[in-house]
Amino acid sequence: MSEATLERGLNAFREQMNAPIASFFSSCVNCGMCAEACLFYTETGDPKYTPINKLEPFRRIWEQEYTLWGRVKSWLGLSRPVDDELLQAWEPLIYDGCTLCGRCSMVCPVGNDISYMIRCAREGFVAAGYAPDGMKNASRRAVTIGSPMGVKYPALAAQIKHVEADTGLSIPMDVEGVDYMALLSSMEIMNFPEYLGALARIFKQAGITWTLCSEAFEATNSGIQIGSSDIAKELVNRVVVAAERLKVKYVISPECGHAYTAIRWEGPNLIGRPYHFKVVHILELLEELRSSGRLKTEGFEEARLTFHDPCQIVRKGGVLEQPRNLLNMVAGDVVEMSDHREMNWCCGGGGGVSAIERAEALRLKVFTRKKSQLEELNVDTLVTACANCRLIIEEGLEEYRMEIPVVGLTEMIAEHLVGDEKNE
């Protein structure tokens, strides 16, 4: 039986090296400004959480193996090797202390895409066996059971029954030749089944043909979070095979941040070819329906609202204006946080951090950033579009005794549908 070894980890670092990463490492002047963009530094004040510092093991591989001068230096015995001890020491920095939110990549004066480098560096950590147990277990469940939270199809079927009873609509399953195949995140299935109901109601009004797939309903991808392209590929491939078998034109990524990154941006590269279908985020689809007049709503929310930008959907996904247009459709009093859109602050639980049990205290600590952003606004309700953000924010608000309900944007839209039986 194979096992994780240091050598496999080092080899993974070597594999990941490319022109952008080499240029990023070459360009870093250690100015420390990325620290100021990272909530793990701003909220703890601990310099070890400086984003570029989290890459020290990867940096050493680059310097020692991919630069002429670095080779000379290690030949002269002047460089410190990457060993088990180093990887072990850095594991809590690169996993617990980074949500891959990408904010540092927006501020680096020389232009380093640090979060991209961290994503690549995790390949080395996981291959060497230095990934947090919580994320290892999530990956194992995702591969063996089909969902990182252990949700199996019968659980989904049970929820579907509830939703169908609730909405009076039937949820299509494994239908071939429809336009859209929807994906769900485990959290939506278990914690926020309202999302599925909202989809059914909106699609009915818009006249969209769609389906779920019993073999590939899970959108999340633990492989992306733990940083293993091999595991990520296996998980993405399930969706690709199902979508291409059902011959759908579109796959809808749900209200889940990293799921969008996985299926939309990394997926084709993991399987090494373009898809035969297109991937849209649910907000992209809703915005398209809105602008083409197929999404009709009535009434406005009375509450004062703000939108929390999920990093992977907004900053790293490019879905920036859609949520705003949609929110303005159903809400009158919308205020923006001090940093928003591509400069928003992470909830603190992205990038797989929410799966790391030991990181809970740190996660709640860094939530103070979101907390103070919300305190500045004095809002009644927080709207977002990522089930993980939603859960993490709810936990954070509870910890800090703040009474702000957190709502998914898709559900909120559904609540205002014109001519919807449930709304009447």
Partner: protein, 368 residues
Amino acid sequence: MAETGKGMEKTLVQSLRESGVSRRGFLKFCTATASMMALPPNMAPAIAQALEKARRPSVIWLSFQECTGCTESLTRSHSPTVENLIFEHISLDYHHTLQAAAGEGAEAAREAAMAENEGQYIVVVDGSIPLGNPGYSTIAGISNLQMLEETVAGAAAVVAVGTCAAFGGLPHAKPNPTGAVSVSEIVKDKPVVNVSGCPPIPTVITGVLAHFLTFGSLPELDALGRPMAFFGKSIHDRCYRRPFYDKGLYAETFDDEGARKGWCLYRLGCKGPMAYNACATAKWNRGTSWPVESGHGCLGCSEPDFWDAGGFYNALSIPDSDITRQAVYVAGAGIALGAVAGAVNRSKQARAREEHEPVTIDDLDKRS
């Protein structure tokens, strides 16, 4: 010239009077000398007093690898001046360019002067000394090196006149075919004063001699053995065009507006910033002008290796070599080496990808 005996009796003032220089003119010279040598003005009477009493010292002038420009400079005859009278006053016992005697007679005069003034006489040298082959430059069959060593042995002091004698000068310029060296590289046990310049300023020579006559010693010298009084400040520091340098106003060609307005000549290759000499204050041709005033940059002729210090018309900041061409060659080498380094990196990357073992959920843990 070489009339020893009788001349020794006469004092400087006497011979000046005979030449029609008034006492007033003489005192004026003393004041000028004092100020030139940066001595306090109240030293002028002391200089006058000392010079009045001074006896004619014996001077032996040796010319080696030189162009006679130094002699020309120092002996140029305008209407009589105190400077050239000083020259008339010293007993120039040997100077093969100027003396009437030739061959063995001339050498006999030198030997006689050396014997008579043992330990007292001054040796003035112009020209560099070839070490490559003694035959490159000989006088009466005697090599320059031998004559210098012989003559200096009984001297009180040596004055190296001109840049060739002081620093090797033009003969020392690359590739220095004769192995030319300066006086101070050979004479180690006698005081040597370097009066550099190509040619040197006449006043500087007379100043040094006046100092010697007045105080019986040599003036204070800089790190290159030159009298501080004359070489203590750079041409640049004393230049009347300096304010233009500070304001960034430069002539860019010899006939542009800047040149007509008398702006700084740095861009036209002036070596004033690195040249130490008194040209700007002493001036040339009886105080008429000096190179920068005439519109041409300083060549830095009073400095060692000035012939090799880059083109006369290149700004001081420009390196000597053909850097453009060098840069092209070097860039070619860089691209070749870079391609090799890049190929090494690529093969490392490719090997790592080949050696990739897929990570599965069964090998997330380390077993050891």
